[in-house]
């Protein structure tokens, strides 16, 4: 059964597509890597899946999931780390599904939060402001929040960027644990070796789909070359998409 289905979806900003005409399905319980050069549209695609960005065209279907069944790990740059909030309070936001606007955090919830923080190796960091953490520690905090969200679909945007190998190994173990629990995990990544070793399915993206399927078949030098040659296009004088015109004529 498809957990995520793309129906000729185009995503972008101000009518300029960043992901162009993508169709395909991600099966429930799949572990999928999304790879591609900078500007390929990886983050845009993930933002479309979690509902932050509305498609310019086409649609994304989430197999009956609503927003609360999706956990999204954004790039750290999107978080204001100067805000005075402790690790405990930050991670506790992962319980939004249960607490909502007014729900209190009782003893059981407190223990859950502490367990999540401990399981990413941050025992003793509960009261630290997030602004005092290193990049790797902050990434562990974000993973702890995803843990608490207990979501069926987990979307990770470059979760292993600029962190050391020990942290990567720990967090990768968590990702594989989620996969074994039957959750659907989608991650935008740059490390080809990691993708080859740990992700069974890969989407090579370069503004549009270059290849999509089992990692061993998709991750070929030819496909990667095609993706690397992709030019970042943002043309203010671009005309309306010809593919859309052809499709509407055919209809």
């Amino acid at each position: 059964m498809a957990q995520v289905a793309f129906r000729n979806v185009t995503l972008g900003y101000d009518r300029h597509p960043a992901v162009h005409h993508l169709s395909g399905e991600i099966a429930s319980g799949a572990l999928v890597a999304v790879i591609g050069p900078n500007g390929a549209g990886k983050s845009t695609l993930l933002r479309g899946i979690v509902g932050i960005l509305r498609p310019l065209d086409g649609s994304i279907h989430l197999g009956g999931l609503d927003a609360r069944d999706i956990a999204y790990l954004p790039q750290s740059a999107d978080i204001d780390r100067s805000f005075p909030i402790s690790v405990f309070d930050f991670v506790s936001t992962g319980l939004w599904r249960g607490t909502g606007l007014f729900g209190g955090i009782g003893k059981a919830a407190r223990e859950k939060i502490l367990r999540a923080i401990a399981s990413v190796g941050l025992n003793g960091f509960e009261n630290r402001p997030i602004g005092t953490l290193s990049g790797g520690q902050m990434q562990r905090v974000l993973f702890a929040r995803v843990l608490l969200q207990d979501a069926r679909l987990i979307v990770l945007d470059e979760p292993f960027n600029a962190i050391d190998s020990k942290t990567i190994a720990d967090l990768l173990a968590l990702v594989k644990h989620w996969h074994h629990e039957g959750r659907t995990v989608l991650a935008a990544l740059h490390d080809m070796e990691m993708v080859r070793s740990h992700f069974s399915e890969t989407l090579v993206l370069a503004r549009g789909p270059v290849a999509w399927g089992p990692t061993a078949e998709v991750l070929t030098p030819e496909n990667l070359m095609v993706a690397m040659r992709m030019c970042e296009a943002f043309d203010d004088s671009a005309t309306a998409c010809a593919a859309d015109d052809a499709r509407s004529r055919a209809a």
Binding site: R47, G51, I70, D78, D80, P84, I85, W96, I130, G131
Partner: protein, 289 residues
Amino acid sequence: MIYDALIGPFTEFEFMRRALAAVIALSLAGAPIGVFLMLRRMSLVGDAMAHAILPGAAVGFLLSGLNLFAMTAGGLIAGFAVAILAGVVARSTGLKEDASLATFYLASLALGVTIVSIKGTNIDLLHVLFGNILAMDDQTLLVVAFNATVTLLVLAVIYRPLVIESVDPLFLRTVSRAGGAAHLAFLALVVVNLVNGFQALGTLLAVGLMILPAGIARFWSRDLTVMICIAVVAAAISGYAGLVLSFQTRVPSGPAIILVATVFYIVSVLFGRVGGIVRQLFPGRHLEA
């Protein structure tokens, strides 16, 4: 002697007691709003909003004379209109909120000045510009207290989404639609508190009792709850000390309150535990871990 100087004015004169009650109400509501304005990098947005309120208050003044309810209503309408329009335009177009707000508050200001000039009345808006907390009657005090109560209740409702939206807006957008509503409600609270402040401090200084205490608090704590408490206390003490200063020296009350807060701010910049200049110059010996 000390009693006569510091307590006497409040036991002796009713207008001083009313003024003290007003600054405490303003501090309780305005200072937490100021903390969020500062943390959301919207300090100057508060200042712009204060300008946006001015023409609304002026129109109220034109239509009903020195009627504080009319001026409050005018200020609220102008402030809400600008806040909501700027917020909606920023969220639906991607234009930065400060740019959007600058456009709307300038338009609002121009509209207010045009209306005044069409009327051709040479009205005295000095008390709107600089306020007069010592002339506050019971009704005005009740309005200030009511607005402060509403502010605290609404802030309690939107506190959680407001915090999450401040630190990680993308996350909130993925789990809830409360972020947009919380942001608009927050802008509305900014307007309510600016209108509240102009009764006491005037439109030009109203934002001072929100932003200065927030700035003071930033130098003493890294914890949001503690920062809010420090800001409230700093605002209330500034208000009290400003009133005493004004009473004893005949300095206008609004500027006196803001000047006292400014002194606290300078002390905090110099000696604050978190990032104060002296602390940075003489940090002490480094720790083990």
